[in-house]
């Protein structure tokens, strides 16, 4: 939770500085993005093991793919309702809650939709923290995991473990783990598909 406050502080400070001072940082933003992507890859390379997926049931392995399809459908509906071009809307949905990756990736092409990608996915994480305890009781602790998208292996895992239990925590971890491996490829892919 504390890191979330740091994130919000960094974002608000950046917006205020950008609005009032308009500083020139050159290509520092792109360099930071590439460094972050490299670090994400490094982390994946060090920790991703196919054999870990065998520890949980088949349904837990299928669930992340349903999360992606559902997220893309939701984004499609939101794009149509709000009149947002599909390229940006689907890219926002493809982020599956990973705001720190989705926002900067989209911002390479559009600053405004990069901000939407960042904020929408951040709000999804916040919604998960608020709604998971309620939905876990109403639907099922296991199925309600999909709310958190890619965040279920880190930031929203404590809340899922608290309200869903240890077994659901393992499902949540694998769910987030698979999405974390897919989303860095999916968002650029969606952006490039519409790059005509």
């Amino acid at each position: 939770m504390r890191f979330l406050y740091f994130v919000l502080t960094a974002l608000i400070a950046g917006v205020v500085v950008g609005h009032y001072l308009s500083p020139e940082f050159g290509n520092a933003y792109e360099l930071m993005l590439y460094l972050l992507i490299f670090l994400i890859g490094l982390d994946l390379g060090m920790n991703f093991r196919i054999t870990d997926l065998k520890k949980v049931g088949k349904s837990a392995v299928i669930m992340p793919f349903l999360t992606i399809i559902g997220s893309l459908f939701g984004a499609l509906l939101a794009s149509v309702i709000l009149g947002v071009p599909l390229k940006w809307g689907l890219a926002v949905g493809a982020g599956c809650g990973w705001y720190s990756l989705t926002g900067p990736l989209i911002a390479q092409y559009s600053v405004v939709y990069g901000a939407v990608g960042f904020l929408a996915n951040l709000l999804r994480e916040i919604l998960t923290i608020i709604l998971y305890p309620v939905l876990a009781r109403r639907i099922s602790p296991e199925k309600a995991v999909v709310l958190g998208g890619a965040t279920t292996m880190d930031t929203t895992l404590p809340i899922i473990a608290s309200f869903g239990g240890r077994e659901v925590a393992l499902v949540a971890f694998v769910h987030g783990f698979i999405l974390t491996a897919i989303v860095p490829f999916l968002v650029p892919l969606v952006l490039s598909l519409f790059d005509y």
């Binding site: 349903l66 939701g74 509906l77 405004v112 999909v146 650029p188």
Partner: protein, 77 residues
């Protein structure tokens, strides 16, 4: 698409480090880079004239519908 280059380089180096039995702790540097990048994203956003109410409402609709879409897909499956 050039985003795949650092990603794949990282995955390959991470795999090599794992094979060598070396696991550097990346959480500190990743958090620092992330916060700096978010700050820079904020400065870019701050320079653009954008209606903050529009930004918040559009983001909220996306957040609700993407989460609801995932939930519906799993419930119906």
């Amino acid at each position: 698409m050039q985003i795949f280059i650092p990603l794949l380089l990282g995955i390959m180096l991470g795999y090599v480090l794992r094979r060598l039995g070396k696991r550097p702790n990346l959480s500190g540097i990743t958090s620092a880079v992330l916060l700096l990048m978010i700050f820079l994203l904020g400065t870019k956003t701050g320079e653009v004239q954008v209606d903050s109410f529009w930004l918040l409402s559009v983001s909220l609709v996306f957040a609700i519908l993407t989460a609801a879409g995932s939930l519906l897909m799993v419930v119906k499956a």
